[in-house]
Symmetry: C2
């Protein structure tokens, strides 16, 4: 991985040509070290999702799809596959794309004789991965057009984008969702600067988004999650773009915890707020996003402990919080559609109220 | 420092009886170790404020007041004292109480012969410290009455308070501002639970508020700054209470970065938002809080590096952010009066719109 101006080159997941193994970047070790992990069993695929070696809705979807293909290679019987469909879906609760990808591979196996299932499943996982890259590239083009329009209103200065968490190439099979428009606009010469929310507790912004943007030479500045409202009040943010783990067909956006606070600040300051998602992230089954989307409650240790590099360059985990203090760690929140300006999908950008007509 | 049920016992600043030295708790080392620092020169006082061994508007005010008294002991001439008035005021820019305390000591010396100035200044600093404790105790009583009223609406469950940063005993000479009502209500038997915002980048919530609340046995849970909006959406917060570094007479509240985001979420969910401050924190000179209050921009290292305790119990600093990524670190933001339900001072609680009539 050497610096490049081409974001299409960054793939955090790729299959071996022999269809027996795929590889992922272990994102728990970034930005301090770049290590890849070979995955050749469904157990390792489930482990990678659970431990967040892979994260980001599109990427965990692709990982689960390949995981089910690996399960089919071991035993393509209906009972075994059904067990792994359930097991892989249970690894994370919030992102709808995980279940979508597993179901898509399972559906592709209907009517396929067991001896052919492993190859069919592997090919379907590959299509899911390839389609993700293509969808994100299209999201990038549609989103970049919106960014150019906003910049045209003040061509004398760079466009100021704020993003939360990591919805970049590392969150997908390629390009990213929220960052795809940034990459496409930057490649096309639009002057752009990205405010990167740190994104506590797992710091995907400071660890992953900052790493990606530095990698591709996109000007950016890391800020704590608390800073975005102040920046918006002072005219230092032109647009907010985030990804999402699930978007209800009503236009409510479930994404990393803290997204709702940024959407409130954007609305309070008249700043457009975009969610960029492949259409497979839109959930047609949710009637009330606030009641029906399961919000993952993760371990308090993710808040109490943090990983960094000491002055000798050694990566260490340190505890931040007094031993006697309990910790809660909800991982996602829901931003109501009324605070969302546009949903950007591979088919174009629309108001959240149009989702049902377009995708319902 | 052993656990106690009496929050009036926690003093992060106290003078020696010989009027030559005062002591502070080094808050950069909490919650990992409890170390006190003896201060016997104005240089050490300025250093304690600049390096945030002491922080919190009331506490830095008292520290600066004693610092000026130590300067008067060394040389009570007008030139020397004028230099130290300027030097001490320059240590932090945002909290109005710092300048207020320095000016008050300086004013007390007007017409005092130089040989008597050190004793006069020391006595005035002591009055500032004592008045702070008394004001905060009164804030506690007025605020506790508001908390009881809110709890009366749902007496079947504990009152859920959310606070940002540390406006507890450690931020003042005693009792705290935002936490004084919590302590008074808890002591009176009100069932109460506090959500403690971590408060990046310096983690005053996770490090100091959690430590204080554990110390006094007040039920609490630490959450990342991103979580508050989600908790409010789900009915898990009844009231938000914060302190402030400066409140404009129009009712705009300048406080730790991120306060504005919590105020937006409180307003969006119909939850009362209180700022608890001694009246000396109200600035009558500010015409436009967003333009006129200087927002301190602190070192990016506060974001890039963090201090914690490793698994061997050793306190270490670790770097979180890739070397190639710039960092910005604005330390405060301004919450507009329209988002503030009540300002609680030692004289009682009022709507922000009443401040000018009461204190203008």
């Amino acid at each position: 991985m050497t610096p490049t101006t081409d974001p299409s080159t960054l793939r955090p997941l790729w299959p071996d040509s022999d269809a027996r193994r795929f590889h992922v970047v272990d994102q728990t070790l970034l930005p301090h070290s770049f290590v890849t992990v070979a995955i050749d069993t469904p157990e390792l695929a489930a482990h990678a999702i659970r431990t967040m070696q892979v994260r980001g809705a599109p990427l965990i979807g692709a990982t689960a799809a390949y995981g089910l293909a690996l399960a089919a290679r071991r035993d393509a019987g209906d009972g075994h596959l059904g067990d792994w469909v359930r097991e892989l879906k249970s690894t994370r609760p919030t992102a709808v794309k995980l279940a979508w990808a597993v179901d898509r591979v399972a559906t592709a196996l209907v009517g396929i004789a067991p001896p052919n299932r492993a190859a069919t499943a592997w090919a379907e996982a590959g299509r899911i991965a390839d389609e993700d890259v293509a969808a994100n590239e299209a999201i990038g083009d549609h989103g970049a057009a919106l960014l150019r329009d906003i910049h045209a209103g003040h061509p004398e200065r760079p466009l100021q984008v704020l993003t939360h968490c990591n919805a970049g190439a590392l969150a997908t099979v390629g390009w990213g969702t929220a960052l795809a428009p940034v990459y496409r606009a930057h490649a096309a010469g639009l002057p752009i600067h990205v405010w990167v929310d740190e994104t506590r507790p797992r710091n995907q912004g400071a660890s992953l988004t900052a790493w990606e943007l530095a990698h591709f030479g996109v000007p950016h500045t890391v800020v704590v999650d608390n800073a975005g409202g102040h920046l918006m009040q002072h005219g230092r943010v032109d647009v907010v773009i985030v990804g999402a783990d699930r978007v209800s067909v009503q236009g409510d956006v479930c994404n990393k915890i803290g997204t709702y606070l940024k959407a409130l600040a954007a609305a309070d300051n008249g700043i457009p707020f975009y969610a960029a998602v492949p259409s497979s992230t839109i959930d047609r089954t949710v009637a009330n996003a606030f009641a029906d989307i399961p919000i993952e409650e993760r371990s308090g240790d993710e808040v109490a402990w943090i990983r960094g590099r000491d002055s000798d360059g050694r990566v260490r985990d340190v505890r931040l919080i007094p031993d006697g203090s309990p910790v809660a760690n909800p991982a996602f929140d829901v931003t109501p559609a009324r605070l969302v300006t546009r949903i950007v999908t591979e088919r174009g950008a629309c108001a959240p109220g149009e989702l049902r007509r377009l995708f319902g």
